[in-house]
Every structure is written in C-alpha cells, then in structure tokens.
C-alpha cells in the first residue's frame, strides 16, 4: 500500500472514526483501525463490534494494499505534523509515515485479523433523506435518551409509518418526539415498522454528517442492523432489541394553564435562574391570577434569590411549578421559532413544550415534586 494524502483530508476522516475504537476489549485489535487503498480510494474503518464506521478520503494512490494500525497512536502523530502532504507506505506489517522532514515507522497488524464489517442483507429497500434534515431531526431528540439500566431507552425510536417517520427518545423524566413528513424524504419501503437505534450510533451519525449539509444519506435496514450511507461515510450498527414504551398515553391533551411567550426571553430567564439554583437544579415558574407575565424564580440557600419576568399570553388558572432547569433548557434549545408554547397541568403531571407555529416537534417534561 502506498499513497499521498493531504493532512486535512486525513484528519477529517480520522475524526469520523476516532470514537469508535474499543479500548477495553478482550480483543486487542479493536484498538486499531483499518486503512485500505484501492480503486483510487482510501478507506478507513473502525469498529467496536456494535457499530462500524467507514470513511472515504481522497488522495493519490500509488499502490493498493491494506493494514491495521493503533488509532490513538497514529492520531497523535498526524495531529502534530506540520506539513500539508503526507506519504504513507506499508510493507509487511509496518507502516511508514513520511513528510519532507519527518519519518516514522509504526507496527501494525495485518487485515486478516480485523473484524469483517457486516453488510445489510438486502439493499433494495431504503429511504433517502437530506443530510441537514436528518442531522437536525436526530439532534433535536437525542438529548432525551438515557444510559441507565434500561436498554430500550438507551436509543431512539424509529417509527416508520405510511406517510411519515416519528423519532422519539425518553429517559422517563422527559420525552421528545420529532416527526419527519414524507415530503422531506424519498423511500421505497412499503411496510410500516418500528425499531430502536442505539444512542451512540445516533451521536456518530450526527457527527459524521456535520460537514456535508447539502448531500443526501441513504438508510437501509435489516432485521437487526441499520446502515447509514453517503458518499463520504458509512455507519452500520446493531439495533436494540426491545419494545419502546407506548408513550401516546402520556402526551397531555388538555392543559390547565397555557402560556405563549418569546423563545429568547425564556432561554435567558432559565439561564439566569440556573446561576442561583443549587445542586437540585430547581427553577420555579409562577403564574399569578390574571397576570400578563410569568415569573421565573430560583433561589440557592447560600446565594440568594432572583426572579425574571417575561411578558406572556396566558390562559387558564394560576400555577406554581418547579422544573429541573437543565431539562427545561435541553428542550427549549431545540426550538428555533420566535414563540414557544408551554402547557402545564399541575405539580405532578407532565408539561408540554413546543413551537407555537410548528407541529413537527414537541417535548414533554415531568416537574420536580414540590
């Protein structure tokens, strides 16, 4: 194997795969990543046996070949090189890195020992979606997942229906749901299905899509795997076995108090409140009888207290309710619209947060017991 590559391209490729390697596995080769050069392409892959990421890099190929190399070790060398062009050459199980004024030889392991990256059984049926829509949709819900003891909640529900896709995630304290309508994607999958995609996979997809906003990504499924594929990256992952909780029953349908208010104001208020809030992260929202504004209040036992008034359109009964400000902010920050709708029931029922003009996303949050 022999090729010349620009340092920037190599680094972009490495960034896409660097979090995948498994440092604590029984199998030492999982610390390595695989470089292959063939057909005028350079391909690098890493896996932790739950998901595998493959990234394509452009470069000048002189000789085809392959080798696996310890990723972190290789990364620290590349990050410290100053030159633009890098020559890479392998012979037997050794890789030589060469620039104008630097040369290193590192030991690798041959490709035969590296796990074979699985394929999707049938690539005939897939859906195609714009990268930025996919990335934004996934980002808007991935915060709500949890890694606690429930495997089915350590992932995002992918609910494929006739004319839309619903994505949902919850950690039992809050839940977010995003709907993607079929005007935003193309698909030849006919059957409805539901599956759960691991959180880690979602995070890698979001990271991998960062630079290519205008292209499309295709998504393929088989019984226990999902594949995201575009020109520069391929991510294949297992799916989670289990049943996502039926959350339709927890979506509040009526509210005792309905509030419409400015997005930025609420973000500011919650951030300011967070300064005073102590370890419990409490922030209180107070709605008085016939008021034209809501009060965002927080106090720390050793610090003092503060309150922030936000003008708002309010209907319904007066109310005092406490939230964890982190969870509240996690929800608000996914909203880009100018006005936000907040529907509250009472101290022990879920509240609902969404954009006031838009319906594709909502967030349900349980209050803190007062």
């Amino acid at each position: 194997m022999k090729f010349i590559v620009l340092k920037k391209n190599l680094k972009d490729g490495l960034r896409a795969i660097e979090r995948i390697t498994d440092q604590n596995s029984n199998l030492p080769i999982l610390k390595n990543f695989l470089i292959e050069s063939f057909d005028n392409k350079i391909k690098i892959s890493a896996t932790n046996l739950e998901l595998a990421v493959t990234s394509y890099i452009s470069g000048k190929i002189i000789e085809n070949g392959s080798l696996t190399i310890p990723l972190h070790f290789f990364n620290s060398i590349i990050n410290n090189l100053q030159t633009e062009k890098i020559n890479l050459e392998s012979e037997n199980e050794k890789l030589t890195i060469k620039t104008d004024n630097y040369q290193a030889e590192i030991k690798g392991i041959k490709k035969d020992e590296f796990p074979i990256i699985p394929k999707i059984e049938n690539e005939k049926f897939y859906l195609e979606i714009n990268n930025s829509i996919l990335k934004n949709s996934l980002s808007s819900i991935v915060n709500s997942t949890t890694n606690e003891n429930k495997p089915e909640l350590n992932g995002v529900l992918f609910d494929y229906q006739d004319t839309l896709i619903k994505l949902a995630a919850t950690d039992t304290f809050r839940l977010s749901e995003k709907t993607i309508f079929n005007t935003q994607y193309n698909s030849n999958i006919e059957k409805k299905f539901k599956t759960i995609i691991p959180t880690k996979t979602i995070q890698e997809v979001i990271r991998g899509l960062q630079f290519e906003e205008n292209n499309n990504t295709s998504i393929f499924f088989d019984q226990n795997q999902i594949l995201f594929k575009n020109e520069s990256i391929e991510i294949i992952s297992r799916l989670i076995n289990g049943e996502f909780p039926d959350y339709s029953q927890i979506i509040p349908k009526k509210f005792e108090t309905e509030i419409t208010l400015n997005n930025n104001e609420l973000v500011n208020a919650v951030k300011l409140a967070s300064v005073f809030s102590d370890r419990l992260n409490e922030v209180k929202i107070i709605i008085k009888e016939n008021a034209k504004n809501i009060e965002v209040y927080s106090a720390g036992s050793n610090l003092g207290e503060n309150k922030y008034l936000i003008p708002a359109k309010i209907s319904g009964s007066p109310m005092e309710i406490i939230f964890n400000w982190r969870y509240l902010l996690d929800g608000i920050k996914n909203l880009t619209s100018e006005n936000i709708f907040l529907g509250i029931n009472n101290n022990n029922k879920p509240a609902l947060l969404k954009a006031s003009e838009e319906i594709s996303w909502f967030y349900i949050l349980m209050p803190i017991k007062s």
Partner: protein, 456 residues
C-alpha cells in the same frame, strides 16, 4: 454416542476453545447457542452479533464443521444466525446523576415493563397472607415452582379491591425473577385484549394477535368477566386458551366472580375456566387488616399511633384499596395540621370516604332490588307467607337494611310486614353467619348490592 443438541454444541465449544485464543473465543463465541437441529442434518447456530456471524462464517467455519462432524457424523451442514443479543448492561450509574434527580418525577406509566406489562410494585413480599386468601396464595406458590404443570388454568376470583391484581401480577414478577427472563410472560387486562382483537380485525391483521398471545409461556389476564358478550374476542381467547393449554403454558385469570356467575360467557369457556384450579379471595379479617395497614405505612415510611390503626382496621372492612385511600387522607391531614389526630377525626374521614353512597339508598330501593333479583313481588317480601321461595329474600332484605342503612331492628321489623324486632335480629344474625360459610350466598349478596348501587 448420542448427544442432545445442547450437549453437542457444548462439547464442540470446549474443543474449539482449545484451538483458538481466549480473546477470540470470548469475543466471537461467547453467548452462542444451538438454535435448531433438523433431521436433515442441518444445524443452526445463534451468535451474539453480526460481526461474530461474519467472522465465524469466514474464519472458523471449517474448524467448527470438522469438530461437529467428529462428534456427530449425521451433521451435513451448519448455518449461522444472529440471536437477539444480550444487550450490553449499563451498570455504571454515576452517583451524580442520582443526586441531580432528587424529587424529579418520572412518567409513571413507564414503570410498567413494556414486554410483559407487569408493574414491578406488585411483589409477593408485599402481599399479605391471611385466612381470606391463603388458598389463592398457596396455589400461586405452587404455580411459581411448577409453571404450567400444576394448576392450569389458575382462576382467582373475589370482590373489588381485595388484591386479585396484586396477586396475579406478583406471580408474574416472581416467575420473571426466579427464571431470569427465560420464561416469557404477558400480563393484559381484559380490556386491552379486547382492544387488540378489535384493532386486528380493523387492520385485517389477525395473525398479529396470534403471534402476540400464542408465543408466550405465561398468560395473565385480569378482569376476564368483561369478555362476556364480546363474541369475536371470546372466540379468539378460546383458541388462544386452547393453544396455550395444550402446550402446557400457564394461564392465570382473575375475575370479580366465579366462572359460573359471569353472565353471557359461553359454556365452552366457562367449563375451561373451571377445569384447573379456582381459588377465591374473600374479605380480610380484623388482624389481617391491621397487618395490611402496618405494611402500607412502612412502605410509605410513615407512622401512625396504634390506636388510629385499630380504628381504621375496624371501620374499613370491605375494600383494601379504600384503606390505602383513607391512609393517604389521614397522613395528609396529619402532615398539614402537624398534630396527631384524634380517633374522632379519623372516624369522620373514614365515614366521609366510604358511606357516601349509602346515604342515597332508601329501604324501598333495597326491597325492590331484592324482589327483582329473586323474581318475587315486592309485596311478597313484606307479607306473612312462609313459603321457602320468599323466606330467603326476606331474610336477606332484613340483613341488608341493617347492614347498608343501619336501620334499627324495630324499624326493620316494622317495615317488613310489621314483624317483631326479634325476627329481624334472627334474620340478620342468620345471614351474617351464613355469609362466611356459604360462598354462593356471599356472591348473591354482592350482586344484589351492585344492583342497588347501580339503581341509585
């Protein structure tokens, strides 16, 4: 030498282990098992993930095939597939995250295990056993030991709020615990089952129902009495019942009355329900109510003086769920007022909670309901005929007038054909005595009460 399929794969594994490195063995073949052995000499091996499948197929197939062939030369072909891998465990829960969430409420519905439908709060440990439910409890223990073989189906019946749901869910949870998820359990309420059937009919996907309810090891159905009269659901349930029962899968059913007393239930289902073990749960006695209140208090980590507990136990006799509600109320009073409550206030709270309905009932409504139930004329109840047909209704009337309305004996005697008060006392005592011995009488009286409450 002949192996069972499991032994065959186990001995193959121990040979493979010698030939490949330990990390490789652990990574690729741990959690593998033999899924199926066909008569045609094909075997199907399940591996933990797709990576393992690719690897074993490409690198170890030859080795495995040789080893297996040596052990059993009838094997002609080996196939591999991915089994629902054990999901990675998430044992690291950082202390910090627990700290942050003090007081943070969770979606209560999510506590239910989505696969089995069981709520973890119902455990056998928190189920209080007394004379009123010891038969049902003992049968439950036998079932847990011997799933599907001992009492099948197991039918529990008893009035509302006596712990049927608690017991059947606890059986489910205990089975889950003992057999470590090797046994598939499904708990549904009758309503859910009916809804599933209706949805399946609407979407023309009856096979969904079959997949969902026939591939399990334990089926628990709550409040089966509601299935009566729903033809299609009954039929579907009948077939499901047969399939499960034939395959020795455990079926557990609860109802508020015995199978014979469920109106509009088809004969074929009724006889099947009666075919296994039927156990009833009756009203708890005083000591048991005391024990229940004490357990509830310790679960809530609260305290009440013994005097108050005794008051509650002696006043609330019929419904354990009501005990819970009353306890909550009393504790709320105690916390907000900050003082120990006198038994007078407690009595007031109790009577506000449970006697609400009774006040609206009039003696004439009681008489009318009973006359209707026994198909006699209301006049017959108060006249002086001594035919057997009207004797029982008459005595029950006097009993219920005393019990539900708290009328005095002279008043009751006066109302029922100007009789002497001793006649009323005799009738009351006779029925009160009989009710504990005679289940069918008890059942009748419960039904009559339902009718009376419905009519007002």
């Amino acid at each position: 030498m002949l192996f069972t399929p499991e032994q065959l794969w186990q001995s193959a594994l121990s040979e493979i282990e010698l030939q490949i490195s330990r990390p490789n063995f652990l990574t690729w073949l741990k959690n593998s098992r033999l899924i199926e052995k066909k008569d045609t000499g094909e075997i199907l091996i399940g591996l933990s993930n797709n990576f393992a499948k690719e690897w074993v197929e490409n690198k170890y197939h030859k080795l495995i095939f040789e080893i297996i062939k040596n052990l059993d030369d009838s094997i002609k072909k080996i196939e591999y597939s991915v089994i629902g891998a054990a999901n990675p465990s998430f044992e690291k829960i950082s202390l910090e995250s627990i700290d942050i969430n003090i007081g943070q409420l969770t979606f209560p519905e999510f506590k239910v295990d989505p696969e089995s439908g069981l709520h973890p709060k119902y455990t056998l440990d928190s189920f209080i056993v007394g004379s009123s439910n010891e038969l049902a409890y003992a049968a439950s223990l036998a079932i847990i030991k011997n799933v599907g073989k001992k009492y099948n189906p197991f039918f529990i019946y008893g009035g509302t709020g006596l712990g049927k749901t608690h017991l059947i869910q606890a059986i489910g949870n205990e089975i889950k615990k003992v057999y470590k998820n090797k046994i598939q359990i499904k708990y549904v309420t009758c309503e859910k089952f009916v809804n599933d059937v209706v949805n399946a009919i609407r979407n023309k996907r009856m096979e969904d129902i079959k997949n969902k309810y026939r591939n399990i090891d334990v089926l628990i159905i709550d409040d089966i009495q509601f299935i009566g009269g729903k033809e299609r659901s009954e039929e579907e349930f009948f077939h499901t019942f047969n399939v499960l029962h034939e395959n020795n899968k455990q079926i557990i059913i609860s109802s508020d009355r015995p199978p014979a007393a469920i109106p509009t239930l088809h004969e074929r289902l009724r006889s099947r329900f009666e075919g296994g073990m039927a156990a009833d749960i009756t009203y708890p006695d005083f000591e048991m109510r005391m024990a229940i209140i004490k357990t509830k208090l310790s679960q809530m980590q609260k305290n009440l003086p013994d005097q108050s507990i005794q008051t509650i136990a002696s006043k609330v006799q019929r419904n354990i769920r009501e005990i819970e509600g009353i306890l909550n109320k009393i504790l709320f009073y105690q916390e907000t007022k900050g003082v120990d409550l006198q038994s007078k206030i407690i009595e007031e709270i109790i009577s506000n909670t449970i006697h609400r309905v009774d006040k609206k009932v009039t003696p004439n409504q009681v008489i009318k309901a009973i006359a209707n139930f026994f198909e006699v004329l209301p006049e017959d109840i108060s006249n002086h005929s001594r035919r057997k047909k009207v004797m029982e209704p008459r005595q029950i009337t006097m009993f219920l007038l005393r019990e539900m309305l708290g009328m005095s004996y002279p008043d009751i005697g006066d109302k029922i054909g100007k009789r002497d008060h001793t006649t009323a006392i005799h009738a009351y005592e006779k029925i009160a005595n009989e009710i504990n011995k005679n289940q069918s009488l008890n059942q009748k009286i419960l039904l009559i009460k339902d009718i009376i409450y419905e009519s007002c």
